[in-house]
Symmetry: D2
Subunit: 139 residues, 4 copies
Amino acid sequence: MPLTAKEIQAIIREGVPMAEDIDFRVDEVSAERAVARVPFSSRLVRPGGTLSGPTMMALADAAMYAVILAARGRVEMAVTSNLNINFIQKPQPVDLVAEAILLKLGKRLAFCEVRLTSEGSPDLVAHVTGSYSIPPQTE
Amino acid sequence: MPLTAKEIQAIIREGVPMAEDIDFRVDEVSAERAVARVPFSSRLVRPGGTLSGPTMMALADAAMYAVILAARGRVEMAVTSNLNINFIQKPQPVDLVAEAILLKLGKRLAFCEVRLTSEGSPDLVAHVTGSYSIPPQTE
Amino acid sequence: MPLTAKEIQAIIREGVPMAEDIDFRVDEVSAERAVARVPFSSRLVRPGGTLSGPTMMALADAAMYAVILAARGRVEMAVTSNLNINFIQKPQPVDLVAEAILLKLGKRLAFCEVRLTSEGSPDLVAHVTGSYSIPPQTE
Amino acid sequence: MPLTAKEIQAIIREGVPMAEDIDFRVDEVSAERAVARVPFSSRLVRPGGTLSGPTMMALADAAMYAVILAARGRVEMAVTSNLNINFIQKPQPVDLVAEAILLKLGKRLAFCEVRLTSEGSPDLVAHVTGSYSIPPQTE
């Protein structure tokens, strides 16, 4: 039985302390796609009212992990192998939303793309691609 | 007068809340190079004893910012434009050290390289390149 | 009047010698998307029957340029600023097809994503993101 | 016995047709570093007198392959896994030189960094990082 958005959120927040720090939420998951968010919080804002780059990277990384968990089931030892982010424009002072797409789920590597937007706007705030190294299955 | 390591650490910790969360420290700076660290803390560790990817990305991003501040003086509105990270091997359960090198300081963009290692070991934990967008000087 | 696929192909093949070497073709363009290809040729194949990485990078780069020309008109001096490519699986011995999507057309930078597939298969061969630096308009 | 610069140049030019197209040369190799070049040729120049991006990417990719061959011996089936390039400034109308550094030679992946400069100038033209997937040894 595939993991639910709630279960995936709990796994990631237990496993990655920074996900807890940014109040990481998983809205929905399927085998190819996860939508996650960081609720807007003045605590994460840097001078000029911009959510910090590390917050965006943490959200994108966790959203990639979410879609891999949704597609593969519980693989707690998956680790990011490469992450590339382009910061495109300043986010708005609202929730930051991540849509992670699974581009390819291989045996050893999974590839994802993540689009970060400000809640309620279609414009890209940042665009991320990443690969995750999948440990060999032990069953 | 160039900013000192202490001043740069204070500017970054005030400006980027996640730098505060990871207890970001600046050890030394020059106009071409900054050495910074995240003291080892069980709080930042994910299952399997590994410092999380977002912690490494936050450290690398802040270390790039540190060397730019050292080279250019106080430019609080500089923002990361692109960051690419290769995770090479699991860090040890010790301080994570970042050496950021300024590859090029242009008028509009600065390019940096960051090498992340575990304190006391020469082996790379992760390798990062990034570009920062520099706002036009207003004086 | 927007440039046609044929015109864009000619501009790129005149301007980038390597586009000529790989027999770069533009199939279709709109203001948000370009489809381009490298016809299969044993000349470009490396041992093991795989199209070489540089051929894929040249195709992706030229496809990004094609969509920017389609969206902005003739901007011959646009130059790639950053390109990141993940090689996902070996291409088949058929035409290599690139679908370039314009993620954001800013004043100074354009961001694109490119999906490379083997003709007739939906599976990704490689995934590319890139940014192009747009020179200031002179009219 | 480690491969010589000449042998490595021959292996790459036979294996990667685009390396032949750009007249790829290997100047020197050691187990951690390779220096390679593309001789200046008006044939590779795009409007404005700039060597094209694909030429730089092809050189960087081949230079990474050269240092891996120098360190590991003949591994013809190694393939690029990820390549990230930042274009920093226009090259001069002279030879383009690549210095590839082996950051880490793992069992499955090798990580490299490449600095591209114009012959005779220390300034970076482009900066590349990449990973190569190493096939399992068959002896």
